[in-house]
Symmetry: C2
Subunit: 241 residues, 2 copies
Amino acid sequence: MFQITNSLTIKVLKEVTPGFDFAVSIDCVLFGFDGSELKILLIERNEEPFKDWWALPGNLVNEDESVDQSAQRILKELTGLGDIYMEQYYAFGDVNRHPQGRVISVAYYAMLRLGGDKPLKPLSNYAKKAQWVNVASLPKLGFDHQHILNKGLEKIKRRIKHLPLAFELLPEKFTLTQVQSVYELILGKKLDKRNFRKKILSFKVLKELEEKQRGVSFRAATLYKFDKRKYNKLFGKEISF
Amino acid sequence: MFQITNSLTIKVLKEVTPGFDFAVSIDCVLFGFDGSELKILLIERNEEPFKDWWALPGNLVNEDESVDQSAQRILKELTGLGDIYMEQYYAFGDVNRHPQGRVISVAYYAMLRLGGDKPLKPLSNYAKKAQWVNVASLPKLGFDHQHILNKGLEKIKRRIKHLPLAFELLPEKFTLTQVQSVYELILGKKLDKRNFRKKILSFKVLKELEEKQRGVSFRAATLYKFDKRKYNKLFGKEISF
DNA sequence: ATATAACGTGTATTTTTTACACTAAGTAAT
DNA sequence: ATTACTTAGTGTAAAAAATACACGTTATAT
């Protein structure tokens, strides 16, 4: 159909409408909590640009998928994690944010419970590996990912004041002290123990269990679980810490 | 350089990296208040697709501009309005949202005071005209613009509870009843007059003027103006109505 | 038995939110 | 000038929420 008469390296030659020469990518900011530290899920890249750098799990959107679908696929491919509800929070569109062309990136965040149950295994070779990294000691990240991450942190800081997002970070059974730790880490400040408990229990979305912690030094705390049923009824109510 | 050996209509023939065949567009949701009704700025389109339909002011992002810059340019071209701070709120990326190809749209909103001072004059011929339209009686909109607009409304509903956005909609001098009207329109519910005034004055961002309304039937109300200085100091404080 | 370290609890004060109804002032019509 | 009309403008009491603050309890480790 087309005859190419010069010797340039041409990747694909194709009919193009002006304006249709952008790429769209997804970047995922996954927050995790291991019981004491706030973590972010990063990958070690195996492709240019930024090969061998740490970066947020991210890649280009395909033509036949919505950006929401794409976010799910990309997270799965790069980290092995599936079935995670992520929420879109911002589109990054500076001209030179990507060294290989004009790429707009749509960022998503999610909160995730950590634990041996969810192994991190990249399914594609875009990533060498995926790993949870302490937010307080991040490596240098590729692209504008530090900026994307900072905006994500700001976002959850605001969100957690109004929604009990913290439970998504915690294991099924948790102590009130752990809940408080999550809030303190995300908000970056200490909270009063008695007032915190009064408040968090007043929403009536926690169910006290008969059970106590096991295998801890010193006094074991009572375990609670999150009652999603009751949480859904609460929807829209304002919460602040 | 290239020799085309068939007869298809080809708009541009160009080197393409796979993935780089998206377009990115901007859509602007501008809210206005004329003293009694909440309005949205719409254009009547003069280009396919959806020629002759009403739609949000929107167009494709150029390669050499950031999405933020693009939002400013597009708004100016389609409505004649410049120098308006718009905030990005969501990226819409369903596969079939645009009939001519894969277009991701980044949506922005702003609040604007209405008045003869800001004439609406499209500078490009993408729009036949721009016009403020009552939110309560919208025409059918092209693309997924009704959806984009609905999300924008939800957004400002949440925002106005925490920030005094209402003042951006009002003229320089306004009455407390007007402020209350804006809140009631956006929140979609009636508020108690005494409690509203107590609350809005408690932030101390309004300055009472010596002046009263002119040219109204019945008793004239005291005029106030917004004190941006004091507002900036307030930043971060939570407000709720 | 004792030391340790985290658990778990209550009250008083202040601040904020809510509910609620009438008088005052200016305009328009007669 | 009187009257009718319409919107402006105001206060208080009760309930709810937020804040400040300290010590006895309990399981573990030595």
